[in-house]
């Protein structure tokens, strides 16, 4: 199928009634879950996965991608109204968004956040449309050595860019990898670490880990904080109208951060969170009156909101064109695709152009829906923040358990879910980041396979990596991402 026909068929799916309905469901669910403080986009996607079983893979990905960027879009609402960011990607939004809300300009702040998100998101999708096919055409020449090196780079990059200590992030990654080795080894047929338990032969279901490590662990923290958190919600949102001078002020950061955010999103390891912080710092440095930042600056609100949404689109570039996720969230999306029987990668563009373009095309629609949801309807949607915590907690736990049971029909996996919930809770308690864990769990099997293919080609000699220039570059970059932070005394602070 020619390039243009592919684009056309993608748009056809995205604009079919099914495509429109499910992108709407996705962004709506994403907005809700993103708004709830404590639940992040990974939990949001993981909770939606069971619902997508039996769907056409294109529609499923359209919906789950909607959940992802919807969560990043919607996360800003609680940052502004509650000063309690719904997700980590909107922490920087609270810096200037919440002061504006305190000044009685909550409506204006919400409007700026929604419009910036829309600009960042839409601009990001345009760039995604241009770059993903380009990268896919380069990646088609990649063999197992390049893939091994690239995945290795993704793992080291996410560890080095994670919050907190690098050593802890690396340990988290190694632990995730260890859980990936459980089950029958695909090449030799040897059962590994199953301890005679038949339920473990096929390995641990990735959904169990995603829901346990993220959703359930986040719920544990909600339980602990449920009594303390008595923050007042700004009931009076005020006018949503923006003046011409407001737009003028937004113009600069919105253009710059659309591009910068997108680039950061494409890079392995970095995502919406890092993009939003870098965007904020960047605009503060550039500003003529940096002292206004943190006190309700329009620029300070526009920058992170544009950057995090642009980064979300950017994160789809490696996922769709290489089949390699660069972040925890896209790793969960990859896991969801694998469950549906789709293997993303450079061939996806050739073999499933409808899926490739359908998802991208749906993002335009999704961003328009989000703008509508987040502008005129936001006062009503923000009411979800009033749901009593105890009910919310019980419902999220129930969703997790139904989700796991619906794929395995097996109570053993529910115990595993509980186990990973407890592991995730303790990891968070002692500041071990969870995204490296899930990324290396999902990439683990693929890394082992590509290493085996590489060494089978070379008859067991590691020298093959030296003969492949692209692989060498990736490996050197991977080593640099680990070595450099060791020499950097202080971590970057916002």
């Amino acid at each position: 199928m020619g390039g243009f026909e592919g684009i056309l068929s993608g748009f056809q799916v995205a604009f079919s009634w099914e495509g429109i309905v499910f992108v709407f469901i996705g962004v709506l669910a994403g907005t809700f879950i993103g708004m709830l403080p404590g639940l992040g986009p990974i939990s949001a996607i993981a909770v939606m996965i069971p619902i997508s079983y039996g769907f056409d893979p294109t529609i499923a990905l359209v919906m789950m991608a909607g959940v992802y960027y919807g969560a990043v879009f919607g996360g800003s609402t609680s940052s502004i109204l509650l000063n309690a960011p719904g997700i980590s990607g909107t922490v920087a939004t609270a810096f200037d968004g919440h002061p504006m809300a305190i000044q009685g300009k909550a409506g204006k702040a919400l409007a700026i956040a929604a419009i910036s998100s829309f600009i960042g998101g839409t601009f990001g999708v345009i760039l995604l449309m241009l770059f993903a096919p380009m990268l896919a055409s380069v990646a088609i020449a990649f063999g197992p050595p390049e893939y091994f090196a690239l995945m290795f780079l993704a793992l080291t990059a996410i560890a080095s860019l994670s919050e907190g200590s690098l050593v802890k992030a690396l340990i988290s990654g190694v632990l995730g990898f260890m859980f990936a080795t459980v089950g029958i080894d695909s090449q030799t047929g040897t059962p590994r670490f199953t301890f005679g338990n038949a339920n473990l032969l096929s390995g641990i279901e990735f959904l169990v880990i995603a829901l346990g490590l993220f959703a359930l662990a986040e719920v544990c923290f909600l339980i602990i904080n449920s009594k303390k958190e008595n923050k007042e919600i700004q009931q009076n949102i005020g006018s949503l109208k923006l003046s011409r001078s407001d737009f003028k002020e937004m113009k600069g950061p919105a253009t710059r951060q659309s591009l910068l955010g997108f680039i950061i999103g494409v890079l392995p390891g970095a995502g919406a969170t890092i993009a939003s912080f870098i965007g904020y710092i960047f605009e503060k440095k550039l500003s003529k009156n940096p002292e206004s930042f943190g006190k309700g600056s329009i620029k300070g609100l526009t920058a992170p909101e544009t950057a995090n949404n642009a980064a979300t689109s950017g994160a789809f570039v490696p996922l769709l064109s290489l089949g390699i996720p660069g972040s925890g969230t896209t790793a969960v999306l990859l896991g969801a695709l694998l469950v549906l029987g789709v293997q993303p990668g450079p061939l996806l563009f050739e073999e499933h152009p409808t899926l490739f373009w359908g998802v991208i095309a749906s993002m335009y629609i999704g961003n328009v829906f989000l703008l509508i949801l987040n502008l005129p309807l936001i006062p009503y949607i923000a009411k979800i923040l009033l749901i009593p915590r105890p009910l919310l907690i019980s419902l999220v736990i129930t969703f997790c358990m139904i989700g796991v049971y619906a794929i395995s029909f097996n109570t053993f996996d529910l115990y595993l879910l509980l186990l990973f919930g407890v592991i995730g809770f303790f990891m968070r308690l002692v500041h071990f980041p969870a995204p490296p864990f899930i990324l290396s769990f999902i990439l683990g099997g693929m890394i082992e396979q590509s290493l085996r293919q590489t060494l089978t080609i070379s008859n067991g000699s590691l020298g093959i990596f030296l003969e492949r220039p692209i692989a060498i570059i990736f490996l050197i970059l991977a080593i640099l991402t680990i070595v450099i932070p060791f020499f950097r005394k202080k971590p970057i602070e916002p």
């Binding site: 039996g54 339980i223 009594k227 529910l414």
Partner: protein, 151 residues
């Protein structure tokens, strides 16, 4: 010596690494492949061991401002919820999805201190019912019927 949190975690990780390595070395060998099933696990075990060693000698970060202090009542609520989850899992296939989920949502919210019993009851009946119908009728996924097998 074990006062530092990092040291306690490091020792736990060492135990995990050693146990993992023990089982890795005992994996049966398969002669015709360049990378046998034990190669990667052994590398991972050694990596974890070394990383734990670095952690052992690392100073605990100063995270006072972010420190989560868990009170006794928090812990009690957390453990009660975990206990309810275990009961849920044990009874799910015996009692059936609908009844056990209704009971779970109601009691879980109750344990967490929700006082509006009528709202609670409505939510805990309507949500599982919606899910049950959604899964069994629309998505064709069977959920355990349990004692309501005629339904």
């Amino acid at each position: 010596m074990l006062k530092s949190l990092n040291r306690k975690i490091a020792i736990l990780l060492w135990i995990i690494a050693l146990a993992y390595l023990f089982f890795s070395f005992n994996l049966p060998a398969y002669p015709y492949v360049p990378v046998d099933s034990d190669v990667l696990p052994i590398i991972l075990g050694i990596l974890l061991f070394l990383l734990a060693a670095i952690l052992f000698f690392m100073k605990d970060e100063v995270v006072d401002k972010k420190k989560v202090n868990i009170t006794q009542s928090d812990l009690f609520r957390l453990l009660s919820v975990l206990f309810l989850i275990v009961i849920y899992v044990i009874l799910l296939e015996i009692v059936g999805f609908l009844i056990i989920t209704i009971l779970f949502i109601f009691f879980c919210s109750y344990v967490l201190g929700y006082q509006k019993h009528i709202v609670n009851l409505l939510t805990s009946v309507l949500v599982p019912l919606t899910f049950y119908l959604l899964f069994t009728k629309l998505l064709q996924i069977k959920l355990p019927q349990g004692v309501l097998s005629f339904f």
